[in-house]
Symmetry: D2
Subunit: 135 residues, 4 copies
């Protein structure tokens, strides 16, 4: 089952051409991932705090088929395309109405924040991630 959340394009996201400056899309994507982890019972505050962990993005590809403008509401969907022992590859899309605005494939790795080394997903979290797998 996909995770869905909406974010509105704000003034701070837009460039002199009046459209979203693409590095801001990655801030939004990170916010969507943050929302997803919170929904799975692992808010970033706990992850980076008590859990001593982190989920850096080690690779990402993205396409922006159409521009987004100030005030647009972007409906994001997130699904897990591949779940490894320590990593996960996501499929994220954003639409405004019917129009596809963004397609991204970030690869996250679960790490021990002290050693900055990959480690296996915690069991309970892994179970939750599996529920967001693509069919």
């Amino acid at each position: 089952m996909r995770f869905t959340v909406s974010h509105r394009v704000r003034f701070q996201h837009c460039d002199p051409a009046g459209i979203v400056f693409y590095p801001r899309y990655f801030e939004m994507i990170n916010a969507v991932v943050e929302d997803w982890f919170a929904a799975m019972g692992m808010p970033f505050a706990r992850m980076h705090g008590a859990e001593g962990a982190g989920v850096p993005t080690v690779a990402v590809s993205a396409e922006f088929p159409a521009a987004s403008r100030l005030g647009d509401v972007l409906d994001f969907t997130l699904a897990v395309a591949r779940l490894g022992r320590t990593s996960a590859e996501l499929r994220i899309e954003a639409r405004c109405g019917d129009e596809l605005r963004l397609r991204a494939r970030p690869v996250l790795v679960w790490i021990d924040a002290q050693r900055m080394q990959a480690r296996p997903w915690p069991e309970a979290l892994r179970g939750r991630i599996e529920q967001t797998m693509e069919e």
Copy 2:
């Protein structure tokens, strides 16, 4: 001939884990592209001003093989992998000393900023871009 420029990792680029937050890498990549256009005689101020143009990034893929930290100097190299009639695919790498930190492949499109439509590269600019082609 590749275009090269260095940028230092600043406080504003780093996250609570003490490493570069990846959307900030894309701000740096955009700055490198901006530096390159300025070096080719087409500073962004003129591009977005008198020229009535723009170079939105329509797709990008990136890998971050190793983390960057506050104070690191990143040596960027930029080369053109493919030059189309209205677009260009770049290869950008950043190293800190010998260590590869970032590899990115943005695709830019030259547009008419009013109509938000692709248009052919201006002749003089195209000649300059060709000088940055990969061998």
Copy 3:
């Protein structure tokens, strides 16, 4: 009557010390102002679009009595301290629970976006702004 809205401290707002990097507070303040104008029937998309206007911040002072951390929910309140012919001075506060985190006094000016010149607040908007005046 004060305008109120809450924003959560996200990963993108935090610095290597794990607390909100203060320029990000100003992004949040701008978002609060944006939310307020939308609530008054003047969303930024319309303001910067059909209306041909803008509300640049020409001065601001702020204090940050206590640090904010990842995951904190900040409850913002906004009131108008002084309403001029073309400008408005706001009082914005943010609390996390009972703790004051931020107090800011931005001064906005309503401008004609083409000429970049101050102009009188539109009558209907002015009426709405008056409803947010401090008592």
Copy 4:
């Protein structure tokens, strides 16, 4: 003696009105402060690393008398207005040619990053800061 450094207005600093979005001015101000500490022999990487310290901004006021645009070179000057046992109040100005664009007064506090508590400036650093005092 004042500390001086120049920063160019980049695409990432500008908003849909084509001028610097004011939270980005604070990113620039932070970069100027960072440059100043580096020049005093206390780069932020060492401050936040081996030194276990930090210099959060606890208050700031700023005015933006004229707008800045893409490509403008801003000449920053920084002077210390008041030096306390654990804090410092700065005067920062930015000009483009002869035109004043920004005047800011940030108050920094030297802290122990673990305890998040103010502590006295280290002696050597204090000596350097005194050399930047306003006459």
